[in-house]
């Protein structure tokens, strides 16, 4: 029977999913370009949805295919493409391998819980916040786990191997400097990992069927799917093999009933049945069975769609009270959101905090925020000048962002994108306090928005030009004063178009047609 091979197919996809999704977060050596990496997460549901509501493009419509798959085969996303789902399957499998033979048994659905959580998610979207989705979305959670837990281990291993190679005078593998992220960026994914590990070894796909809003919404849709897994009463011997391998605990053998809203399409049951008594049946094969829950499906689907539509910023006036937009700040009023993110509002609306850009950023200037964006933006990346500065010619984060929070920029656009503005505090500058030349800020400035101009005692002191500053924070990073920097960048709530750097004609200098001046 060909359907027996579906489990193998699922395992192949699952392995590809977890390997490729992990790879994009730990590719420290830039084996693959960031625009290609985007395709490896084409099927990730939530980022694909948020991107599409921003700007429709071929690379962002993965979620439409997932919805189609679901309409045909049920929630196969959860077993084929969801990295957290696959991770949980690995955990469950490990427990079985470790000798503790786990047998699943049927359990009743936790409808009250799962639909309440879905409702809260939808309501929070209506209110203009993606916070709940950010915290529960499986892809983003997987991203945070790989970026903040696995990646440091990979960096450490890289450096150990590099150190060993160095003993043999081999410089082919460079060490990678690692900045410890803020504790929340460690604690949150670690707690999540422990939480799903515990649930996976105890109850299989419990998280997917009770908490995960993606699982619940796809579950509603799969109630009306064309193909459904069903038990053939005429051949079923009630042996219970299918029940024992069902991680979703959704096979009620006594009533010959499979709860498709909880079935994650892992195909274990099909493989387990020696009588071919459980398999996918098409609508025709099933006969026209009336399903009262269909109505609910439509209502919920429309709510979700409407909720997502409402994310467009014009509905989000309520979110603005925390920030004072349009004012020239005298101290750091706003964090700097990544170039291409348009505004802090746009960024915090669409970012799901998957930390893919944090992992891909070559200078590591992108670091998870604590509460700099407010509670809604917890763990969303910001430009952290204490770690590094944003490379002038780099557009990696704009190419790789899967959720539409950071929109694509060309290098030329990036050169003019002002994510923040420079501010100079003379009283804190070493030239002013120590009467000694420094100029580290001006050295690093790619647009010369910071110039050294003549001052007293034949010294030169920084002078800033906000118009041509792009907010890369190179000056702030380079400034040697402690504990507070004498020059800093305050984020722009709404990104601005910087003016072109000033060009000056050159007249002086040596002409090789003349004699040497010495």
């Amino acid at each position: 029977m060909t359907q027996k091979k579906l489990r193998l197919l699922r395992i192949v996809f699952a392995v590809l999913t977890i390997v490729s999704t992990s790879f994009i977060f730990i590719d420290l050596w830039q084996f693959m370009s960031s625009s290609n990496k985007r395709w490896l997460i084409f099927f990730q549901f939530i980022p694909s949805v948020t991107t599409t509501f921003n700007k429709i493009s071929i690379s962002s419509i993965g979620f439409i295919l997932i919805l189609l798959f679901t309409l045909f085969f049920g929630r196969i996303y959860c077993s084929f493409f969801c990295p957290i789902g696959v991770l949980k399957d690995i955990f469950s499998r490990l427990k079985i391998k470790m000798g503790k033979i786990k047998r699943y048994k049927y359990s009743l659905p936790h409808n009250w819980w799962r639909y309440s959580i879905l409702l809260i998610t939808i309501l929070s979207i209506f209110s203009g916040s993606l916070l709940v989705i950010d915290l529960l979305d499986p892809y983003s959670n997987f991203g945070r786990i790989t970026a903040n837990l696995l990646r440091p281990i990979v960096i450490f291993s890289n450096n150990v191997i590099s150190g060993i190679l160095l003993l043999f005078k081999n410089f082919s593998l460079a060490k990678i400097e690692f900045k410890f992220p803020n504790p929340v960026a460690i604690i949150f994914p670690l707690s999540f990992l422990i939480f799903i590990f515990y649930l996976a070894i105890k109850r299989g796909r419990f998280y997917c069927n009770v908490i995960c809003p993606v699982g619940t919404i796809l579950g509603l849709l799969s109630r009306i799917s064309f193909y459904k897994i069903q038990i053939n009463q005429s051949v079923c011997t009630l042996c219970g093999n299918c029940v024992k391998v069902c991680k979703s605990e959704c096979i009620d053998i006594r009533n010959h009933y499979v709860d498709v809203s909880r079935c994650v399409g892992c195909m274990n049951c099909i493989d387990s049945c020696s009588e071919n008594g459980i398999k996918y049946n098409s609508l025709k094969e099933r006969g026209n069975i009336v399903d009262h829950k269909k109505r609910m499906t439509f209502i919920a689907s429309f709510s979700m769609l409407a909720g997502l539509l409402s994310m467009s910023p014009r509905y989000r006036a309520s979110g603005e009270h925390r920030y004072k937009a349009g004012e020239v700040p005298v101290k750091k009023n706003f964090p700097s959101s990544p170039p291409g993110s348009k505004s802090i509002e746009h960024f915090t609306t669409y970012c799901t905090a998957c930390h893919l850009c944090v992992s891909a950023c070559p200078t590591q200037v992108l670091q998870p925020a604590l509460f700099q964006y407010g509670i809604e933006g917890v763990l969303q990346p910001r430009l952290d000048a204490s770690v590094n500065f944003c490379n002038f010619d780099c557009i990696v984060c704009t190419e790789i962002c899967p959720s539409g929070a950071i929109m694509p920029l060309t290098v030329e656009q990036k050169h003019r994108t002002q994510t923040g503005r420079v501010h100079f505090i003379k009283q804190s500058c070493v030239v002013f306090t120590d009467k000694k030349d420094c100029g580290a800020c001006s050295e690093h400035c790619p647009t010369k928005a910071v110039q050294m101009v003549p001052w007293k005692y034949k010294l030169k002191i920084p002078e800033v030009n906000n118009e041509i500053c792009i907010g890369c924070s190179a000056c702030e990073f380079a400034c040697p004063t402690k504990p507070y920097k004498a020059i800093y960048v305050d984020g722009n709530y709404i990104h601005q178009l910087a003016k072109q750097p000033i060009k000056v004609d050159i007249e002086e200098g040596f002409n090789p047609d003349n004699d040497f001046p010495f």
Binding site: G163, K175, P362, D393, D437, G439, P480
Partner: protein
Amino acid sequence: MKRRDFIKTGITTGLVTGAALAFGNTTSIFKTENNYAVYDLVAVKGGKPDAMFDKGIQALGGMKSFIKAGQTVVVKPNIGWDVSPERAANTNPALVKRIIEHCFNAGAKTVYVFDNTCDNWAKCYQNSGIEKAAKEAGAKVAPANTESYYQSVSISKAKKLKSAKVHELILESDVFINVPVLKHHSSADMTLSMKNLMGVVWDRRYWHLHDLHQCIADYATFSKKPTLNIIDAYRVLMKNGPRGTSEADVKLFQSQIISTDMVAADAAAISLFGKKPEDVRFMRIASDMNIGQIDLNKLKIARLNM
């Protein structure tokens, strides 16, 4: 133990060399059988960077005057910025390549190339064209991006920079060739031979915080001095240095300065730029500290045309 021995040997050798340079007749050390190296400084103009080096180094008796067979060489260009060669913020890659070729021809065992960059190091190495050029010539391109590559040394003659963390390849090398690019510099006025040495130490913020000009001169007193300084003045960044904002900041000088004396080389390059060497504060300090000869009239100069 091995590392310690390395440093010990390095420092001792360096001290002896340094003392010889300071008290002895410099030119006589480099005098070869052919009696070539009678010049303190070579200035070349009117050609491509690699061809100018061919001619310039010949006036000093060729690279064999500086490198013995089997020696380990570090070639230290300026790779500080993630910009293309046309922007002239980094040393010309063709020049770096040709220098490495000369090193191997002279019998060098290994040639290392590195810089502690300002922009992201991998992008600097790549987009400056230096990584590719150096590898083509057979050199090993080494990273310098983490503190673990650096060793603490003390600088006895320094006034402010009493100690620094120096890249281990410098300390372990037999010959150290300094290849700065001549350019305008917002903080140090000019960046040249002495300023280029900031790229072999780890903590640059300390220099900026404790009198940059004094620290530049202080580090130039460190025993492990460059054997040879080759200043790339082919394309020169006249404004908005050290990074530059566009090619509009660049002027074609088509020149090159070669000298064993950092101060002399820098003085000549500053004159090319159109300034007086004494106008740059680290030059005055270096001259006062007897690091080298600032007065170009006291030097024997070979002026070569292509």
